[in-house]
Symmetry: C2
Subunit: 224 residues, 2 copies
């Protein structure tokens, strides 16, 4: 059977910046492991989506016991995380069946909504790919050595995930060697010479990085 | 008497983005008007600092009644806000006595700490000015017409307030006519040809703009 949509949820990070021994993706948000939210959002968007979850192999058992404890019902496949995000995505790609569009999502962004996922898949169908972006509301400066100057913030934007690409583009792009400038998937794919389509992101879709972010996510989860 | 340090706290905004009839600077944060926090932080940094608060003239009475209601003890001078932030700062400058260094701070940033204020004044003494900056932790893209590409986020930073300048530089810079690209005070001052010094900001020092920001500020206020 042909699966037309897949998602790779990347959760390779450690809990170092969260002052926690538990890797951040397993911390509880409103009483539920952070990672559950992303899997649920994609499943609610489309119950037939093929979900691959990339975790450090050392966390497989922890994850499986959490799924058991919470009776987590959503079907998914595990893939072993690599040393870098680039390697983790590469590993996830091996678990993807024949598919048209692949979304790649940070497991540390639990507040992704099914509405935003839906808009992004629609845009990816129309434009070949889609990447969620939000404006920057504060002043920005650009610096080089000891010079710096104001930068026009109206021509730059913050990029979030999920980022969605045609399967063949993504697989081809990930055959390259890793480079430091690959901070997300769009930066990997654009080296093929493809134009990246900027779609509408969601300011609520924050990345859980530092310690207060978890409580901030709770506030956002409960706000309208 | 010579006052060596002054601060202009700019609070000209309306409550439009906060879904509130009350201008955001008067909303309560942990039971206290948002604006009180900034005045307190500067006063605790240095009880002799000269504080000018810029408000829309239509809010003067509301402000005075809040100060009375809460027995707000910190001495300050009011200045009338203008149509733009640029005009509000200009109006505040008229209320500044002879002083060496002037800080300009957004009233919508209640979480400024006296420690950060202290670092910024020290840097301004050493380098002639100082502007708090924090790194960007997410991918950034730069766009023009329908092209866009990844931008190296390690050479840009987010700028906060307070921004501190020598009195004579600031007054001279504010004699110019307003331009759209003046999104903060550093952008006004650098047109004099002065080098801006980037100092360490504080990720907690967020700007209260949208509705959930108030609750996020509460979380940050109570976190360590």
């Amino acid at each position: 059977m042909k699966t037309s949509r897949s998602v790779i949820i990347v959760a390779g990070g450690s809990g170092k910046r969260m002052n926690s021994d538990v890797p951040k993706q397993f911390l509880l948000l409103n009483g539920k492991p952070i990672l559950f939210y992303s899997l649920e959002a994609f499943h609610h968007f489309n119950p037939n989506i093929h979900i691959v979850l990339v975790l450090p192999e050392s966390n497989f058992d922890l994850w499986k016991s959490l799924c058991k404890e919470y009776n987590f019902p959503i079907k998914h496949v595990l893939a072993k995380g690599g040393k870098t995000r680039f390697n983790s995505v590469k590993s996830g790609l091996k678990q993807i069946p024949h598919t048209e569009l692949i979304a790649i999502h940070d497991g540390a962004r639990p507040l992704i909504s099914k509405e935003n996922i839906s808009v992004l898949f629609e845009d990816a169908e129309k434009y070949g790919n889609s990447v969620p972006s939000i404006p920057i509301n504060e002043s920005v400066r650009i610096f080089q050595e000891d010079e710096n100057e104001i930068m026009d913030r109206s021509i730059i934007c913050i990029i979030q995930t999920p980022q969605i690409f045609k399967s063949e583009d993504l697989k081809k792009a990930y055959q390259q060697s890793y480079e430091v400038r690959f901070t997300d998937d769009a930066s990997v794919v654009e080296t093929l010479g493809l134009k990246i389509h900027l779609s509408k992101g969601d300011p609520k879709n924050i990345k859980i990085t530092r310690s207060p972010d978890l409580k901030i996510a709770e506030v956002l989860l409960n706000s309208h």
